[in-house]
Protein backbone atom coordinates (compact mmCIF):
# COMPACT_ATOMS: atom_id res chain seq x y z
CA UNK A 1 0.00 0.00 0.00
CA UNK A 2 1.55 3.30 -1.06
CA UNK A 3 2.06 6.05 1.46
CA UNK A 4 1.38 9.73 0.99
CA UNK A 5 4.75 11.48 0.63
CA UNK A 6 3.45 14.22 2.90
CA UNK A 7 2.30 11.93 5.73
CA UNK A 8 4.77 11.75 8.61
CA UNK A 9 4.63 10.27 12.09
CA UNK A 10 5.75 12.64 14.83
CA UNK A 11 5.59 12.80 18.59
CA UNK A 12 5.84 16.58 18.82
CA UNK A 13 4.79 19.57 16.77
CA UNK A 14 4.26 23.06 18.12
CA UNK A 15 2.65 22.78 21.54
CA UNK A 16 1.29 19.26 20.98
CA UNK A 17 3.19 16.23 22.28
CA UNK A 18 2.16 12.57 22.22
CA UNK A 19 3.67 9.46 23.78
CA UNK A 20 3.43 7.56 20.48
CA UNK A 21 4.26 9.13 17.14
CA UNK A 22 1.09 9.89 15.22
CA UNK A 23 -0.10 11.15 11.86
CA UNK A 24 1.19 14.55 10.86
CA UNK A 25 0.58 16.22 7.51
CA UNK A 26 3.68 18.08 6.34
CA UNK A 27 1.61 20.13 3.89
CA UNK A 28 -0.89 21.36 6.46
CA UNK A 29 1.80 21.51 9.14
CA UNK A 30 -0.42 19.89 11.75
CA UNK A 31 -1.43 16.61 13.27
CA UNK A 32 -4.38 15.19 11.37
CA UNK A 33 -7.28 12.99 12.37
CA UNK A 34 -6.00 9.43 12.82
CA UNK A 35 -8.63 8.17 10.40
CA UNK A 36 -7.45 10.64 7.78
CA UNK A 37 -4.12 8.87 7.97
CA UNK A 38 -5.22 5.27 7.90
CA UNK A 39 -7.45 5.91 4.90
CA UNK A 40 -5.03 8.47 3.46
CA UNK A 41 -5.49 9.45 -0.16
CA UNK A 42 -1.97 8.34 -0.92
CA UNK A 43 -2.81 4.81 0.13
CA UNK A 44 -5.49 4.54 -2.56
CA UNK A 45 -3.29 5.44 -5.48
CA UNK A 46 -4.71 8.94 -5.75
CA UNK A 47 -2.68 12.10 -6.22
CA UNK A 48 -2.54 14.12 -2.99
CA UNK A 49 -2.17 17.42 -4.80
CA UNK A 50 -5.38 16.82 -6.72
CA UNK A 51 -7.42 14.48 -4.58
CA UNK A 52 -6.60 15.26 -0.95
CA UNK A 53 -8.88 17.80 0.74
CA UNK A 54 -6.21 18.62 3.31
CA UNK A 55 -3.61 19.30 0.63
CA UNK A 56 -5.96 21.47 -1.41
CA UNK A 57 -7.04 23.50 1.60
CA UNK A 58 -3.45 24.06 2.67
CA UNK A 59 -2.46 25.06 -0.86
CA UNK A 60 -5.38 27.48 -1.08
CA UNK A 61 -4.30 29.14 2.17
CA UNK A 62 -0.81 29.87 0.86
Amino acid sequence: MAECPHLEYRETAGEQTFETARAYCAVADEFVQPMRADICTGRYGLAPSEDCEIYREAAADR
Binding site: R22, Q33, P34, I39, Y44, E53
Partner: protein
Protein backbone atom coordinates in the same frame (compact mmCIF):
# COMPACT_ATOMS: atom_id res chain seq x y z
CA UNK B 1 -43.56 7.03 17.73
CA UNK B 2 -45.91 8.95 20.02
CA UNK B 3 -44.03 9.28 23.29
CA UNK B 4 -43.14 12.55 25.00
CA UNK B 5 -41.66 13.96 28.16
CA UNK B 6 -45.22 13.92 29.57
CA UNK B 7 -44.87 10.19 30.07
CA UNK B 8 -41.91 10.65 32.40
CA UNK B 9 -40.26 7.50 31.15
CA UNK B 10 -36.59 6.95 32.00
CA UNK B 11 -34.13 8.26 29.43
CA UNK B 12 -31.24 6.09 28.31
CA UNK B 13 -27.99 8.05 28.13
CA UNK B 14 -25.23 6.56 26.01
CA UNK B 15 -21.65 7.79 26.19
CA UNK B 16 -19.70 7.60 22.92
CA UNK B 17 -16.24 7.76 24.39
CA UNK B 18 -13.68 7.50 21.62
CA UNK B 19 -14.90 6.99 18.05
CA UNK B 20 -12.63 6.22 15.15
CA UNK B 21 -12.21 9.55 13.38
CA UNK B 22 -10.56 12.32 15.41
CA UNK B 23 -8.36 11.75 18.41
CA UNK B 24 -6.21 13.54 20.93
CA UNK B 25 -5.06 16.01 18.28
CA UNK B 26 -8.62 17.39 18.41
CA UNK B 27 -9.15 17.13 22.16
CA UNK B 28 -6.44 15.75 24.48
CA UNK B 29 -9.16 14.53 26.86
CA UNK B 30 -10.43 11.97 24.34
CA UNK B 31 -9.55 8.50 25.64
CA UNK B 32 -7.67 6.23 23.21
CA UNK B 33 -5.92 3.48 25.20
CA UNK B 34 -7.86 0.68 26.88
CA UNK B 35 -6.96 2.07 30.31
CA UNK B 36 -8.10 5.57 29.36
CA UNK B 37 -11.34 4.22 27.89
CA UNK B 38 -12.01 2.21 31.05
CA UNK B 39 -11.44 5.25 33.22
CA UNK B 40 -13.72 7.38 31.02
CA UNK B 41 -16.43 4.71 31.09
CA UNK B 42 -16.37 4.63 34.88
CA UNK B 43 -16.72 8.41 35.09
CA UNK B 44 -19.59 8.37 32.59
CA UNK B 45 -21.36 5.60 34.49
CA UNK B 46 -21.19 7.73 37.62
CA UNK B 47 -22.52 10.70 35.65
CA UNK B 48 -25.56 8.77 34.42
CA UNK B 49 -24.61 6.79 31.33
CA UNK B 50 -25.96 3.25 31.27
CA UNK B 51 -24.48 2.40 27.87
CA UNK B 52 -20.95 3.02 26.60
CA UNK B 53 -20.34 2.95 22.84
CA UNK B 54 -16.85 1.62 22.25
CA UNK B 55 -14.22 1.83 19.53
CA UNK B 56 -10.66 0.58 19.78
CA UNK B 57 -7.50 2.38 18.73
CA UNK B 58 -3.93 1.41 18.06
CA UNK B 59 -1.18 3.06 20.09
CA UNK B 60 -0.81 5.78 17.44
CA UNK B 61 -4.52 6.64 17.68
CA UNK B 62 -5.55 5.00 14.41
CA UNK B 63 -8.47 2.61 14.27
CA UNK B 64 -8.20 -0.96 15.50
CA UNK B 65 -10.71 -3.65 14.56
CA UNK B 66 -9.12 -6.79 15.98
CA UNK B 67 -10.95 -8.92 18.50
CA UNK B 68 -7.82 -8.76 20.66
CA UNK B 69 -7.82 -4.98 20.88
CA UNK B 70 -11.58 -4.84 21.53
CA UNK B 71 -11.07 -7.48 24.20
CA UNK B 72 -8.51 -5.25 25.90
CA UNK B 73 -10.92 -2.31 25.78
CA UNK B 74 -13.88 -4.38 27.01
CA UNK B 75 -11.85 -5.90 29.84
CA UNK B 76 -10.67 -2.46 30.94
CA UNK B 77 -14.21 -1.10 30.90
CA UNK B 78 -15.64 -4.05 32.81
CA UNK B 79 -12.91 -3.80 35.40
CA UNK B 80 -13.40 -0.06 35.91
CA UNK B 81 -17.21 0.06 35.91
CA UNK B 82 -19.97 -1.36 38.05
CA UNK B 83 -22.57 -2.65 35.59
CA UNK B 84 -22.50 -0.48 32.47
CA UNK B 85 -23.76 -1.92 29.16
CA UNK B 86 -21.07 -2.35 26.50
CA UNK B 87 -21.93 -1.50 22.90
CA UNK B 88 -19.19 -2.26 20.36
CA UNK B 89 -18.94 -0.37 17.10
CA UNK B 90 -18.96 -2.34 13.86
CA UNK B 91 -18.49 0.75 11.70
CA UNK B 92 -15.37 1.24 9.65
CA UNK B 93 -14.94 3.14 6.40
CA UNK B 94 -12.66 1.30 3.99
CA UNK B 95 -12.12 -1.58 6.41
CA UNK B 96 -12.61 -5.10 4.98
CA UNK B 97 -15.90 -6.69 6.03
CA UNK B 98 -14.16 -9.55 7.80
CA UNK B 99 -12.37 -7.06 10.04
CA UNK B 100 -15.58 -5.22 10.92
CA UNK B 101 -17.05 -8.41 12.34
CA UNK B 102 -14.15 -8.92 14.75
CA UNK B 103 -15.44 -6.55 17.48
CA UNK B 104 -18.41 -8.92 17.93
CA UNK B 105 -16.15 -11.82 18.87
CA UNK B 106 -14.96 -10.82 22.32
CA UNK B 107 -15.52 -13.10 25.29
CA UNK B 108 -18.08 -12.42 26.57
CA UNK B 109 -19.70 -10.68 23.61
CA UNK B 110 -20.92 -7.13 24.14
CA UNK B 111 -24.59 -6.81 25.07
CA UNK B 112 -25.06 -4.40 22.17
CA UNK B 113 -23.37 -3.42 18.91
CA UNK B 114 -23.93 -0.75 16.30
CA UNK B 115 -25.27 -1.71 12.87
CA UNK B 116 -24.93 0.92 10.13
CA UNK B 117 -28.03 0.75 7.95
CA UNK B 118 -26.63 1.97 4.65
CA UNK B 119 -23.90 3.77 2.75
CA UNK B 120 -22.26 6.98 3.83
CA UNK B 121 -19.63 9.14 2.22
CA UNK B 122 -16.36 9.83 3.95
CA UNK B 123 -14.14 12.64 2.70
CA UNK B 124 -14.02 13.13 -1.10
CA UNK B 125 -13.13 9.68 -2.31
CA UNK B 126 -14.46 7.06 0.05
CA UNK B 127 -17.81 5.52 0.86
CA UNK B 128 -18.62 3.17 3.70
CA UNK B 129 -20.81 0.87 1.65
CA UNK B 130 -22.77 -1.09 4.26
CA UNK B 131 -24.56 -3.14 1.64
CA UNK B 132 -27.78 -4.93 2.60
CA UNK B 133 -25.93 -8.22 2.37
CA UNK B 134 -23.31 -7.00 4.84
CA UNK B 135 -25.94 -5.54 7.16
CA UNK B 136 -27.62 -8.96 7.22
CA UNK B 137 -24.28 -10.72 7.74
CA UNK B 138 -23.38 -8.52 10.70
CA UNK B 139 -26.86 -8.88 12.12
CA UNK B 140 -26.74 -12.65 11.75
CA UNK B 141 -23.54 -12.81 13.76
CA UNK B 142 -25.04 -10.51 16.40
CA UNK B 143 -28.07 -12.78 16.75
CA UNK B 144 -25.85 -15.88 17.06
CA UNK B 145 -23.98 -14.22 19.90
CA UNK B 146 -27.00 -12.74 21.64
CA UNK B 147 -26.00 -9.16 20.83
CA UNK B 148 -28.71 -6.51 20.52
CA UNK B 149 -28.19 -4.24 17.51
CA UNK B 150 -28.53 -0.50 17.62
CA UNK B 151 -29.71 0.40 14.11
CA UNK B 152 -27.70 3.42 12.93
CA UNK B 153 -29.93 5.63 10.76
CA UNK B 154 -27.73 8.26 9.19
CA UNK B 155 -30.44 9.78 6.96
CA UNK B 156 -33.94 9.40 5.55
CA UNK B 157 -32.82 6.77 3.07
CA UNK B 158 -31.43 4.70 5.91
CA UNK B 159 -34.85 4.97 7.55
CA UNK B 160 -36.32 3.26 4.49
CA UNK B 161 -33.57 0.67 4.72
CA UNK B 162 -34.34 0.15 8.40
CA UNK B 163 -38.05 -0.36 7.83
CA UNK B 164 -37.26 -2.94 5.15
CA UNK B 165 -34.72 -4.58 7.45
CA UNK B 166 -37.32 -4.85 10.21
CA UNK B 167 -39.66 -6.55 7.74
CA UNK B 168 -37.11 -9.16 6.69
CA UNK B 169 -34.98 -9.70 9.79
CA UNK B 170 -35.64 -11.73 12.89
CA UNK B 171 -34.32 -9.06 15.19
CA UNK B 172 -34.68 -8.04 18.80
CA UNK B 173 -37.77 -6.37 20.18
CA UNK B 174 -38.16 -3.49 20.56
CA UNK B 175 -36.03 -2.35 17.65
CA UNK B 176 -33.60 0.34 18.78
CA UNK B 177 -33.03 3.05 16.18
CA UNK B 178 -30.32 5.67 16.45
CA UNK B 179 -31.13 8.80 14.40
CA UNK B 180 -28.02 10.73 13.40
CA UNK B 181 -27.85 14.45 12.60
CA UNK B 182 -24.95 16.52 11.35
CA UNK B 183 -23.18 17.21 8.06
CA UNK B 184 -22.30 15.11 5.03
CA UNK B 185 -24.40 11.98 4.60
CA UNK B 186 -26.16 12.39 7.93
CA UNK B 187 -29.57 14.01 8.31
CA UNK B 188 -29.53 17.82 8.24
CA UNK B 189 -29.71 18.83 11.90
CA UNK B 190 -32.92 20.46 13.08
CA UNK B 191 -35.69 19.73 15.55
CA UNK B 192 -38.24 19.71 12.71
CA UNK B 193 -36.23 17.11 10.82
CA UNK B 194 -36.06 14.97 13.95
CA UNK B 195 -39.82 15.22 14.40
CA UNK B 196 -40.32 14.27 10.74
CA UNK B 197 -38.16 11.18 11.21
CA UNK B 198 -40.26 10.13 14.19
CA UNK B 199 -43.37 10.08 12.00
CA UNK B 200 -41.84 7.12 10.16
CA UNK B 201 -40.47 5.22 13.14
CA UNK B 202 -42.56 2.18 14.14
CA UNK B 203 -44.52 2.76 17.35
CA UNK B 204 -42.91 -0.22 19.01
CA UNK B 205 -39.38 1.13 18.47
CA UNK B 206 -37.16 2.94 20.94
CA UNK B 207 -35.25 5.89 19.54
CA UNK B 208 -31.81 7.22 20.37
CA UNK B 209 -30.41 10.44 18.87
CA UNK B 210 -26.92 11.65 17.94
CA UNK B 211 -25.96 15.18 16.91
CA UNK B 212 -22.46 15.87 15.66
CA UNK B 213 -20.46 18.87 16.83
CA UNK B 214 -22.55 21.89 17.86
CA UNK B 215 -25.75 19.96 17.11
CA UNK B 216 -25.17 17.46 19.92
CA UNK B 217 -26.88 19.41 22.67
CA UNK B 218 -29.87 20.73 20.65
CA UNK B 219 -30.92 17.48 18.98
CA UNK B 220 -30.33 15.24 21.98
CA UNK B 221 -32.36 17.64 24.12
CA UNK B 222 -35.11 17.57 21.49
CA UNK B 223 -35.02 13.79 21.68
CA UNK B 224 -35.50 13.90 25.44
CA UNK B 225 -38.53 16.17 24.96
CA UNK B 226 -40.19 13.80 22.53
CA UNK B 227 -39.60 10.67 24.57
CA UNK B 228 -36.38 9.50 22.95
CA UNK B 229 -32.97 8.77 24.35
CA UNK B 230 -29.65 10.57 23.99
CA UNK B 231 -26.08 9.76 23.02
CA UNK B 232 -23.35 12.25 23.86
CA UNK B 233 -19.58 12.13 24.14
CA UNK B 234 -16.30 13.13 22.59
CA UNK B 235 -16.73 10.78 19.62
CA UNK B 236 -19.48 13.05 18.37
CA UNK B 237 -18.49 16.43 19.77
CA UNK B 238 -15.26 17.77 21.27
CA UNK B 239 -16.71 20.93 22.78
CA UNK B 240 -18.77 21.79 25.83
CA UNK B 241 -19.82 25.04 24.20
CA UNK B 242 -18.51 27.10 21.30
CA UNK B 243 -14.78 27.67 21.75
CA UNK B 244 -14.59 25.69 24.97
CA UNK B 245 -13.25 22.14 24.60
CA UNK B 246 -14.98 19.56 26.79
CA UNK B 247 -12.90 18.49 29.74
CA UNK B 248 -14.14 14.90 29.59
CA UNK B 249 -16.81 12.59 28.27
CA UNK B 250 -18.36 12.65 31.72
CA UNK B 251 -18.82 16.42 31.53
CA UNK B 252 -21.07 15.96 28.48
CA UNK B 253 -22.95 13.05 30.08
CA UNK B 254 -23.48 15.01 33.28
CA UNK B 255 -25.06 17.91 31.40
CA UNK B 256 -27.43 15.68 29.45
CA UNK B 257 -28.39 13.73 32.57
CA UNK B 258 -29.21 16.98 34.33
CA UNK B 259 -31.30 18.19 31.39
CA UNK B 260 -33.21 14.91 31.31
CA UNK B 261 -33.97 15.16 35.01
CA UNK B 262 -35.01 18.79 34.67
CA UNK B 263 -37.40 17.82 31.87
CA UNK B 264 -39.01 15.17 34.01
CA UNK B 265 -37.19 12.25 32.41
CA UNK B 266 -35.34 10.30 35.10
CA UNK B 267 -32.04 8.97 33.84
CA UNK B 268 -32.37 5.25 33.26
CA UNK B 269 -30.38 2.97 35.50
CA UNK B 270 -28.59 0.10 33.84
CA UNK B 271 -31.36 -2.26 34.95
CA UNK B 272 -34.00 0.07 33.51
CA UNK B 273 -32.08 0.33 30.24
CA UNK B 274 -31.92 -3.46 29.97
CA UNK B 275 -35.68 -3.55 30.51
CA UNK B 276 -36.42 -0.73 28.03
CA UNK B 277 -34.25 -2.23 25.29
CA UNK B 278 -35.08 -5.85 25.99
CA UNK B 279 -31.47 -6.83 26.60
Amino acid sequence: MNASYHDGEPAVVTAALTGGVHGKEANPNLPETPAEIGEAAAACELAGASVVHLHARRENGERAFSTDRFQQVADAVREATDDVILQHSTGGTAAPEDRRIEPLRTDPPPEMASLDMGPLNRYDHLTSENTRAFVDRLHGEMRERGITPELEVFNDGHLNETLAFLDRADTTDPPYLNLIFGGGTTSPPSPRRLLAHLDDVPDRAEVNVIGFGPHQLPVTTTSLLVGGHARVGLEDNCYYRRGEPATSNAQLVERTAEIAEQLGRPVATTAETRSILGL
